[in-house]
């Protein structure tokens, strides 16, 4: 290892590491030399970045294209009220530099994709995956395999968290399983809701992201037994933990290049197809109908707990109950269907058109979120 030295201030800052016999100054040197790429600075990225920074990882890259939103603050403890509206990577860098001035924070204010991922990730020794969607999870996996670096993985939904260390070569030269060994194929779009659609308890990413940070430190320093070949599950609701064994999957393909991950996950072309089959109405057009007192029916296919947050006084028929509620849906006047962002209402319209022959349905483009954004900003967005 090339010579790594510490200033007096650094020695004092890291002293609680230096006095752990199996960690000591050798472990701290490894941290200082390490370069970790954190993909996503949201719920998981917040504790991950805070702890990696505080612990003294020498170079930390952050990839995120998003800006801080009011709805982030319930769990993304990296950010404060003053960060709302700012670029996440810039707000994160500022916060992290105030936490530890002895390290180097590199920001990548981009949407990680097949065209830029290898170029960004090639300068790092470890990738920590804290993204929020399946295409990026498969992308991060394939990048880690192609660049031959470990992928410290965590994922959350509502009350449940998963952690593992993928693609880690152990001291005997044996490579552990990758993400594709655990999940060879992604679920079809819409079957597994995201946190934005399904919610997440605010503390959960704090717990799971901290476990992820701990695995990053272990992978860098080589201490202990990293969570390679194992999947840790945590259910915050029942306080149940399980650690399952995972091994290479016989059908995992050899990764030779990056692919189109949107298409791989069934997103993209399908959405265009849906749009052409589902008649749409904009929020401005809906507002005109409201203003002019036209006769139409507005149906809200969200869940009752979403209706309570904000609503457009539509008839509430949750998507799951649609087929039992056909009698409540008009056939002799225009019917406008909406949900939060327009996805579930499009599914509802396709079902009603294809299976029950409705021809009078229109999807509110962008859902109640677009209405709150463009027409009535007194409505709460969520």
């Amino acid at each position: 290892m090339q010579d790594v030295s510490f200033s007096k201030a650094e020695l004092e800052r890291y002293s609680r590491h230096l006095i752990i016999p199996e960690f000591n100054i050798e472990g701290q040197k490894k941290l200082k030399q390490a370069k970790v790429l954190v993909v996503g600075s949201g719920g998981l990225g917040s504790p991950l970045l805070l702890y990696l920074t505080a612990a003294g990882v020498g170079t930390i890259g952050i990839v995120d294209f998003d800006v801080v939103d009011e709805t982030n603050l319930q769990r993304q403890v990296l950010f404060g009220v003053e960060s709302v509206g700012r670029s996440k990577v810039e707000a994160a860098k500022e916060r992290l530099e105030s936490l530890n001035p002895h390290i180097n924070i590199i920001t990548h204010n981009v949407h990680l994709n097949s065209a830029n991922a290898l170029e960004i990730a090639k300068n790092y020794d470890v990738i920590a995956d804290g993204t929020d969607n399946f295409p990026t999870r498969y992308l991060v996996n394939d990048v880690s395999v192609l660049l031959d670096v470990p992928n410290v993985y965590a994922s959350i939904f509502r009350f449940e968290g998963q952690v593992s260390v993928f693609n880690l070569v152990d001291q005997n030269g044996k490579r552990g399983p990758q993400y594709r060994d655990l999940f060879p194929t992604p679920p079809p779009p819409g079957l597994v809701p995201s946190c934005a659609e399904g919610g997440v308890i605010g503390v959960l990413p704090g717990i799971i992201g901290s476990l992820q940070a701990n695995e990053v430190l272990k992978v860098i320093t080589g201490i202990g037994e990293p969570l390679s070949g194992r999947l840790f599950l945590f259910d915050a609701l029942t306080f149940t933990t399980r650690t399952l064994k995972i091994s290479p999957h016989p059908e995992t393909p050899k990764i030779t290049e990056l692919i189109d991950y949107q298409t791989f996950c069934g997103i993209g072309p399908n959405s265009d197809q849906t749009a052409s089959l589902v008649p749409e109405i904009t929020v401005q057009e809906l507002q005109k109908l409201r203003d002019h007192g036209h006769d139409y029916q507005l149906i809200d296919v969200r869940e009752p707990y979403e209706y309570e947050i904000s609503n457009l006084e539509g008839d509430l028929i949750p998507l799951g109950q649609l087929e039992q509620s056909l009698a409540q849906i008009s056939r002799d006047r225009p019917v406008i269907v909406h949900c939060r962002s327009g996805k579930r209402s499009a599914d509802a319209i396709l079902l009603l058109q294809n299976k029950y022959g409705f021809t009078n349905l229109q999807n509110l483009k962008g859902g109640i979120l677009a209405f709150a954004e463009e027409i009535d900003n007194s409505l709460a967005k969520y």
Binding site: V192, C195, R242, T243, I246, P250
Partner: protein, 90 residues
């Protein structure tokens, strides 16, 4: 006979129950019994031909059934079966 742990994303199909006791001597029989008890789960666990969907992983205790006898792996009354779905939140 086995207890199946239901992951959070699927609990809305089991009336929010986190664990379900099932009949059947194999993983396949236990999963089919589970989907008979809670029919809304069927589309999420089984494909049109009745096979367990590839994005849902099943474990008996801490072992992946792929490293045992797959769907034909025998279960006992004391068996704990975990359904592990892909989740992507961050």
């Amino acid at each position: 006979m086995a207890k199946i742990i239901i992951p959070t994303p699927l609990r809305k199909f089991t009336g929010n129950q986190a664990a379900i006791s099932t009949n059947g001597n194999t993983i396949r029989e236990a999963i089919v019994d589970l989907t008979n008890q809670h029919p809304d789960l069927k589309n999420h666990l089984l494909d049109a031909t009745g096979q367990i969907r590839s994005f849902v992983r099943i474990f008996l205790g801490d072992e992946d059934i792929l490293s045992l006898q797959k769907e034909e792996t025998m279960v006992a009354e004391s068996s704990i079966v975990s359904i592990v779905p892909a989740i992507a939140g961050g």
